[in-house]
């Protein structure tokens, strides 16, 4: 506790007196710590801690979810996915409310057993997430999968969406707290472009309140010195080059391409699809899945929250109509969604 007080005092003494600073985190777990530990209230008035695109569930395209729902309604299919995905609302309901053949898994390799035990069914793993879930899906493929197992991919890339953010003047990010575990995969070097090309101080942090505060201190030191550098305060887990084997496996099976971010649209090179030679595993190809036109949820500003342009409290539906029990938009569903986190802890 003393250490926390010490860091908070340091933040107050280092904070510039004359200007506002927007420090963005791009990780649901960071946002969780910030909100749950009340770090926002400990900050000087002119320092804003903004949640960014740290919630894969929140940006998973509606088209992919509706395709998953339609697959789960087929008699010959079992759809397996992470628990967070089951309740995400779309214009046709959620995977769970549709009542099809779905199954929750907490690790990709769990679908192997499902496929082996159900040889008469086609098992589709709906693989959603950023690098921390892409690598495990690549690991599953590397293990070798039975003929009746297919992958419906909705994988997105963190550094790429952050670059979109810094180019958007409306967002105006002054510094990044880079996500610890995504960094464990891609390496802290992946964020080098932000200080180098955009002059944005970037610090890789873990998930303890103390570690996050330390990252903010480092950022403020840099700003005070008029510098922009890449620093890493989560060295016990994150190496500069990241997990090489994980990177190799990801790009053995996937290639970078333009993908659809819910409410935001297609962004070039911001996601991953299975390579041509693995087309036989690709549920989009095997089941000939169409691109379904997205419909915005009336009133939901989740897409703006994800980009750091609005806060959950700016949404008229927040807490009144939209709650974790009855989520109207994707940001209220996942424990990594800003609306869900703010609902529970603030």
């Amino acid at each position: 506790m003393d250490r926390i007080r010490e860091l908070v005092n340091l933040i107050h003494s280092l904070a510039p007196k004359d200007k506002k600073l927007k420090i963005m985190n791009v990780c649901g777990s960071h946002e969780h710590t910030i909100t749950y530990s009340g770090l926002r209230s400990l900050m000087p008035k002119n320092i804003e801690l903004v949640p960014g695109p740290g919630c894969p569930v929140c940006v998973c395209s509606e088209s992919d979810i509706i395709n998953a729902i339609n697959l789960s309604k087929r008699d010959d299919v079992i759809l397996a996915t992470y628990g967070d995905m089951l309740r995400v609302p779309t214009k046709v309901g959620s995977i769970r409310s549709s009542g099809g053949n779905y199954l929750m898994v907490s690790a990709p390799h769990e679908v192997l057993k499902v496929a082996l035990e159900n040889p008469q069914k086609k098992v589709v793993f709906f693989s959603v997430g950023f690098e921390t879930t892409t690598a495990p899906t690549a690991a599953l493929l590397e293990m070798g999968v039975p003929d009746n197992l297919f992958i419906l991919t909705s994988q997105k890339l963190t550094p790429e969406i952050m670059e979109v953010l810094v180019n958007d003047s409306e967002v105006g990010v002054d510094a990044f707290v880079a996500p610890g575990h995504v960094s464990a995969i891609v390496g802290s070097k992946a964020w080098e472009i932000f200080p180098k090309n955009y002059g944005i101080p970037t610090v890789v942090a873990g998930f303890e309140p103390e570690n996050l505060l330390l990252a903010i201190v480092k950022i403020l030191y840099q700003i005070k010195k008029g510098k922009a550098e890449l620093e890493n305060v989560y060295k016990g887990v994150v190496k500069p080059e990241g997990n090489r084997r994980a990177q190799e496996l990801i790009y053995k099976y996937f290639y970078k391409t333009s993908v659809n971010w819910r409410g935001i649209g297609y962004i070039p090179d911001s996601g991953l699809e299975l390579k041509e030679e693995y087309g036989y595993l690709d549920a989009k190809k095997v089941f000939n899945l169409p691109e379904i036109k997205e419909e915005k949820v009336p009133g939901c500003i989740c897409h703006e929250i994800v980009l750091g342009k609005s806060y959950p409290t700016d949404c008229k539906l927040f807490k009144k109509v939209c709650t974790p029990r009855n989520p109207k938009g994707p940001c209220m569903v996942s424990h990594e969604g800003a609306c869900n986190i703010w609902y529970r802890f603030s």
């Binding site: 990780c27 649901g28 777990s29 969780h32 710590t33 749950y36 740290g54 894969p56 569930v57 992470y82 628990g83 967070d84 907490s106 690790a107 990709p108 390799h109 769990e110 997430g129 950023f130 921390t132 879930t133 690598a135 495990p136 690991a139 599953l140 590397e142 293990m143 610890g180 575990h181 464990a184 995969i185 873990g206 998930f207 303890e208 309140p209 103390e210 570690n211 016990g236 887990v237 994150v238 190496k239 997990n243 084997r245 994980a246 496996l249 974790p324 029990r325 996942s334 424990h335 990594e336 529970r344 802890f345």
Partner: protein, 78 residues
């Protein structure tokens, strides 16, 4: 689904392993780390059932201490 949890490896049958955290055992995959890099007794950071990095015991314990609160809150939450 993005919460990383440190676990102790108690049995290895590469690429699979049995790992433990706070008395809970779970089958995890070591596929993302080269064969032989992780030994029984080592600590790893686990994401959706996959060890993504080897970490030392001190780091694991520190993260656990902080995570305990968070996980409790998450499970207690809706």
């Amino acid at each position: 689904m993005c919460v990383g949890v440190p676990m102790k490896v108690v049995e290895i049958n590469y690429p699979m392993a049995l790992a433990e955290a706070k008395g809970v055992k779970r089958r995890i995959s070591l596929m993302l780390l080269p064969e032989g890099e992780v030994k029984v007794g080592d600590y790893v950071m686990v994401h959706v059932g996959n060890a993504i990095e080897k970490i030392d015991q001190k780091e694991a314990e520190e993260i656990w201490k902080a995570l305990e609160e968070v996980i409790e809150a998450m499970e207690g939450g809706s």
